[in-house]
Amino acid sequence: MEKVHLTVNGMQIAARESQTVLQAALNADIYIPHLCFHPDLTPQGGCKLCVVEIEGVEGAVTSCTTPVQDGMVIKTKSEHLSHLRAVALELLLACHPADCTSCPVYLNCELQAVTQYLGVAHSRLRKIDKKNIKINNNNPLIVREMERCIQCGRCIRACLDIRNVGILQYNQKDGEIYVGTEADLPLKDADCRFCGACVEVCPTGALRDKEGIFSKESPREKSLIPCSDSCPVGTDIPTYIRFALAGQYSEAVGVIREKIPFPLSLGYVCNHKCETACRREKLNSPISVRNLKRFAVENDKTEIWKSKAQQKMAATGKQVAVIGAGPAGLTAAFYLTKKGHTVTVYEKLPIAGGMMAVGIPAYRLPNEIIDNEMEFIKDIGVEIITNTAIKSAEELKNSGYDAVLIAVGAHMGRSLPVVGTGQKRVYTAVDFLRKISLQEEIDIGEKIAVIGGGNVAFDCARTVVRLHGKTVELICLEPRDAMLADQEETSQGAEEGIIIHNSQAILKIEEAQDGPTGVKHIDVKKFSFGQDGRLEIEPIEGSERVTTADTIIVAAGQSPKIARDFGVELDRANRIIVNNETLATSKTGIFAAGDAIYGTKSVVEAVASGRKAASSIDHYLGGNGDISEILIERQLPNGKMGKKENFAKEERQSPAILAEAARINCFCKVDLGLDEEQAAKEAGRCLQCDLRVGISKVKFWGDYTYK
C-alpha cells in the first residue's frame, strides 16, 4: 500500500492511500469531532462535525468523505469550522431530549461527549418534537427509544453495509424524517436478524439491548455471546453452529473438542445452560444447541481434528494418579497426559465413565457412546485401572505419585428421615441406577414407588418401566408446573405410563414382615424452605392416603461417599474442601474436582472442573498450566448474513422420539436426534451473537492525544 504524507494542524503524518482524511487523522491520534462516522461503516458525511479546511480548497469539507492526497495541508480548527460544527450540533440537539441524566447511556453517549467537547448547549433553536418516534417501538430483544435518535444513519448502514440485511431506512411521514423499517413493520415482521449490529453502532441511547439479556458478571466481550458465556467450559458455540450450517461437521466437532473430551455424551445428556441463555429464547425459542452438537459428532466422517487433538507435549517424567474415572477425573487425566505427564486413573467400579455410565440410564446415553469416547482418551495414553478402590489419597500419593486428583463423584444417595435406608426393597436412586447399569442382582417387586420429582427420580421411574411388567408411581412434593425435572422427562415419563402424584408430603413407609407395602402421603397446600434451610410444609388435614408399593426408590439427592480417613479435609456435607482457584486440598499435591467438591451438578460442570484441575496440577508440576488448544483454525466469519424471509418465525426443530410402545420394556435410545434437514434448519436459526464482537469499538475524544 502506497504511503502518502500530509500535514494536519502543522503536524506531519503518514497515511495509506486508501484512507480518508478523518481516518488518517484519527490513526495519528489527532481527534476531529465526528458522529455519523463509524470505522466499520461507509462514510455518509451527514453530521458535518468532521469538517476541516484544506489548503487550496474553498470552504469546509467533510473529512470522512475526503480521500487523502500526498502533500495535503489540513486545518481541523478555525472559527469558521467551530461555528459550522456548533450549528450542526445545535440542529441535532433541537430534536433530542434535553435531559441527559435520566438517559440509560448517560456518560456513555457519543452525542453527549461531542456536545461537551464542542461546548454546545441546548439552545436558541426551536425545539422539534417529531411525531413519528413512537412507531414500532415494541420489539423483542431490542429497545428502540426513537426520541433519542439523531438520525445519523449508523444503524441503517450497519444493517446494510456490514450485515447485508438492509431493513432499516430513512422514512418520511408528514414532513418528518425518522429511522424505521419499510412500511413501519415491527422488526420481527421486517425480517430483522436480531444480530444487534444496529444497537452496537448507535451513538446515543436510542437503540439498546433489553435489560437482562446479557450477564453483567462477565466482561462485555464474553457476555455478548450468552451461549458460550454460560457454558461452564466456554465452548465456542456460534462457531460450531456456523460449521454445522455449512455441513462441515468435522470442523464443528473440532471446535467442540477444544473444550470437551466427551462431545457425543454431552450431545446426549448435557443440561445445556447455553440454551437457557440463548438470545433467541426471547424471540421464539432457543437454538437446539445440544442436538446440533450430537448431530455434528454423529455425522463427523473425517475427524480432521484428530491428529491435532492427539498431540502430546514431551514427557515430563511426572506421575499423576486420578481417583475416579468419571467425567471430571477423565477430563483431567486427558489434559494432563497431553501436557506430558504420566497419568493413571483408578476406578472402584468394574467400568469407567462414572455417573455417565452408572447414573444415567442407557436409554438416555447408550453405553457404547461412553466406551467410544473413552477409547480416544485411552489412545493418547491414559491408563484406566478398574475394580480398584483407593482407601487413602495420601497413601496413594506417597506410593510414588507427584500429584493426586480426587474425582470420586457423589455416589451416596440421600434418603428422607421418614424413610430411612437399608430396609429390604428400599433403595436410594444412585444405588438403584448403579445396580441396574452394572446388571447386578437387585431385589425388586412388581409395584414400585419413586419418591422425588427431579430428573434422577424420572431416571429411576423410567428405568422401572423398562424392566418388564413392573408398574411405577412417582410421588413428589412440587406441583406439576414446578417440578424440578425437565419438561421432556415429565411428559415422556407420563407417556410411558408413570403415574405422577404431585404436591405430596411423605408421612411414612407402610411395612410388613417381608418389606414395604406402601407409602403413606398427604396433600400439601404449600411448602417453603425456612431460613435455616429446613422444609416447612402446610398439609391439608384429612387428605392422607396410601399408595401401595412393594419397592421404594428415594431420589432425594446425593453426596460424596468419602471416608473420614481418606486423607483430606471434608465439610459437613462430606464434600472435599478445596481452594476455589487451584482446587488444591488441605494436603500438598492432592487436588480434588467434580461432584466430590461441590455435590451434584452436571456432566459439563464436571468436565469444567476437570479442566481446571488439569491446569492447576500442571502448574503445580512445573508446567505453564495452559491447556487451551485450537484444533480448527478460524476464519473471520462472514458477517454479511443477508436478509432471510420469516427468519424470526422459524421454529425450533424437535428431534424424533421413539414411540412409547417401542421404548418401554427395553433400553433403546429414546431421543433419535435431528435429521440433516432439521439440523440445517436449526443451525440457520442462530442469531450469530458473536458477530457483534467483531464490530470496532468507538473511541471518545478523551482517548486521543491531540484534541
Partner: protein, 212 residues
Amino acid sequence: MKLTCEKNTFITDTAEIIAKDEAICTVDWSKSMFDYARRESCGKCVLCREGTMQIYSIIRDITESKGEAEDLALLTELSHIMERNAGCEQARKVAKNLLVAIEMYQDEWEMHIKRKRCPALVCRNYISYHILPENCQGCMLCSNSCGKGAIAGSEGLIHVIDQEKCSRCGECTKVCSYDALQKAGAIKPKTPEFPIPVGSFESGSGRRRRRG
C-alpha cells in the same frame, strides 16, 4: 426508499421572488419553499434534514404571531451555513433563495415579526374576512359555502362572519357575485354585529337603524 439526494425538483429561481408582485407574501412563499424542501429531504445530511425542518418551524412561527426579534438573524445564520455546506444542490438552493428573500424584503419580515402584520394579506393569522354590508344581497351563497358554519344570516339579511369560527380559508370570496367579501389586515371595515335586513345598514355612523 430514497438514498441519494440527487433530485433537484424544487428549482424555484430567485428571479421569482425578486420579481414578485404585492400579492405574494415573502414570508409565506419562504414557508412553502421550506415545507416542500423538508418533505423532499433524503435525511442523510443534518443541514438539510434538520435545517429545513428548523427553518420551516421558525418561519411558521413568524406567520403565526410567534416570531421573535432574533429570528431574522437566526434565519440568516442558518441559511448561510446551509447554503455553503449542505450536502445537495436542493438544500443549498433553498437556503440561497431565503437569503435573497430576507435581504430584499426585510421590511416585510419585520412587519410579520414585530407588528404581526402581513402586507400582502396572505398569512392567515394576520388577516380577517368581512362581508361588506353595503354590497351584501343576502343570497346565502357564502354561508352555504362555509365549511366551518362561521357565516350567519338567512335570505334577505346581511350576512356576518363570526371571526372566532372563521378559519380564513377564503372559500366564501370565490362564490360571492356582489363583491361583498373583503379580506382585511389591520384596518377592518365596519359591519353589523348580527344579521340585519339588506339595505338597513348605516355606514356613516356605524349605528344601525332599528325598525319599528
